[in-house]
Amino acid sequence: MTTTQSPAAPAAPTRTYADYSAPLWRRWLLTREMAVIALTVAVFVYATINVDNFDGPLTVKFLLQDIAPILLIALPMTLIIITGEIDLSVASIMGLSSVLLGVFHDSGMSIPAAAVLALLAGLACGALNGFLIAYVGLPSLAVTIGTLALFRGIAVGLLGTTAITEFTDKWSDLATNTIGESRIPLVMIPFAVLTIAFVVLLHFSTFGRGIYEIGLNDEAAHFTGVNVARTKFILFVLSGVVSAFAGIYFTLRYGSARGDNATGYELQVIAAVLLGGVSIFGGRGRLHGVLAGVVLIGVISSALRLESVTVNVTNIIVGLLLVASVILPSVLAWTSSRLPRKAATPPESSSTPNAASAGV
């Protein structure tokens, strides 16, 4: 629907997600995603040079371990936000799967069996969200605020304020060990597999194209043959399962199943996704930008912790970055719409609105 090549098209499209009239290299290099990646690399280089101990051997391991659950959940969250929906219940699903893993393991079940049940619980949570949003037609913001409280309530209710900390070393080592002699945590292997799966799903499949279409205009998507309800349902189920997996990793890494595990993670995930260039209004965003967004927040927090900066300041910096990343493109688009208009008004006034309103 937005693949119109002709700039003289009479009806100006309000929002586009890719500019197919530009050459390929330009479409890849001069994008918001590349800006985030460049900023991430720059901050990383800056920290390596200027922050004491950041270039130490432990940094990469700790950094990846810390951001692993956020990286995992950011994958389905990106797809959901591109459809114009949101899932606020992810951290509660993490907490619930953590508690279930602990409770089942405590009752004598092996870790793999307990993990499968925890993943099924995540699937059920996602299916509940998906059913209410896709088939009942309720707004995802309202539904997932509700299930955020509901799942967290069940998690805390099951264990109270106690924690289950008896996990076999074999399994907790799996969550903390690195690949061979490298500094890369083992959890990066399932993460890499999931990333490839999500990249294929979003960027190289008709299902993925449907996701963008829903985000731009779900009614139009419906009429072009996209099964809007089924797509949304699948995405929320995926989100539930991946969140449960992140919850299992989280539990084994810290060796502690608690109802309040991962409280507040949903905001970190959403912040990273938005920072990575995904539009909160849907229809725009790419996974490589999101991955860079997650790493950027991780590098900033790690460097600031090494500099003994308090967590409040870290939050302020990430918050400002987020606000800037949302505002800056709009400001730039606004100024660019002013500048060419002055120059171009006398000769060809008809084509300026098109350029001015092409979305970011």
């Binding site: 460049a38 720059a42 060796g255």
Partner: protein, 348 residues
């Protein structure tokens, strides 16, 4: 045409990258010389204090004690910590200490097990790990600075109530939940001591009630105690919620000044009732001393003066000499008594 909207973003990207890269290069020299003059491996010890969470008056007091001890020893100490008291939030700070290669980490653990992996990693980077206030599994840390033992807490409370009621009369206990392990251990010890110790022969424990650490319920239970036992002389409440609620009830009732109240409380909660005469004295430990002792112990370990074995002893400034007990536990001493003379010195 649409390209126009992309270019400014790209431009912004380039400017951001360039400016970040330039700052990096520009301050390159400064950064390097900074780390050289940082003298990490020098004679001066450098430590990190990690409380359960920041902005908690109790830990602010223990950190102040630690800082005073650090100044006395001429070592460097800094406080870091999470906003909320959760174990996963503490792990990233423990990791940071490992990265920084500090000499010691003094921490109050949010979970006895969950921190062990991170602590092991820090210890393998030659960081000495000392817990205070809340311990981890004894295998993970080098030393635990224990604020008070159960025996000490039970004995102190009986001593205070006996003093306040003149050594004879009926007393009752206002506890937290009926299944609270620590509360029940203290109550058992108090019952045993009352039965065995001839000094307490004239004191009779007539009732034990439970306020579930709920302010209103503790308040109501106090009222019920006074009605059911008209001859009651004193109440022991070994829980901070209970003692504050009981004090609030007593201060407005006709029993004020007639029924003694003691137990475990915090100065900020109890100040009003000590000042208006409802409560004569109560106990807890002194968090400032606890922080100071942890710092002295950490310094002794990091300097190699002690190895943390049972029987090792070290000097802790004004606090005196301390010995390491079984399982690497150092005991601060018997609980600290707060009364009208000293309550003004504390803010937690």
């Amino acid at each position: 045409m649409k390209f126009h909207t992309r270019r400014p973003i790209a431009l912004a990207a380039i400017i951001l990258t360039a400016s970040a890269a330039l700052t990096a290069c520009g301050s390159d020299d400064g950064g390097d010389s900074g780390s050289d003059s940082g003298s990490d491996g020098g004679g001066e010890l450098s430590m990190t204090m990690l409380p359960k969470n920041l902005g908690n008056p109790y830990f602010d007091t223990s950190t102040a004690g630690a800082e005073a001890a650090a100044e006395d020893l001429g070592i460097e100490i800094e406080e870091v910590g999470p906003e909320t008291a959760s174990p996963d939030a503490q792990v990233s700070y423990i990791n940071t200490v490992a990265q920084q290669g500090k000499d010691a980490l003094i921490l109050s653990a949010n979970d006895p097990e969950a921190l062990c992996d991170a602590i092991d990693e820090a210890r393998s980077a030659d960081v000495k790990v000392i817990t205070f206030d809340a311990d981890t599994n004894p295998d993970c840390r080098d030393l635990f600075i224990n604020q008070a033992t159960a025996e000490g807490i039970a004995a102190k409370q009986l001593e205070l109530i006996s003093e306040q009621i003149g050594g004879k009369g009926e007393i009752a206990i206002l506890s937290a939940a009926a299944n609270a392990t620590n509360q029940n251990a203290w109550i058992d010890m108090m019952e045993k001591e009352l039965a065995d110790n001839p000094d307490y022969a004239d004191i009779e424990l007539v009732d034990t009630v439970y306020g579930d650490d709920d302010d209103q319920k503790s308040f109501d239970q106090t009222e019920a105690l006074l009605q059911n036992h008209p001859d009651l002389k004193g109440i022991i409440s070994p829980t901070t919620v209970g003692i504050a609620a009981a004090a609030r009830y007593l201060s407005d009732s006709s029993s004020k000044g007639k029924v003694a109240l003691t137990g475990l409380g915090t100065p900020n909660q109890m100040r009003e009732y000590v000042e208006n005469g409802t409560v004569e004295s109560f106990a807890l430990w002194n968090p400032s001393d606890l922080g100071a002792l942890a710092t002295y112990a950490a310094a002794a370990l990091a300097n190699g003066d002690i190895s943390g074995e049972e029987g090792d002893s070290f000097e802790a400034g004004d606090l005196g000499e301390f010995e390491v007990g079984a399982d690497g536990v150092v005991l601060l001493g018997e609980p600290f008594t707060f009364d009208a003379d000293n309550i003004g010195d504390f803010d937690f």
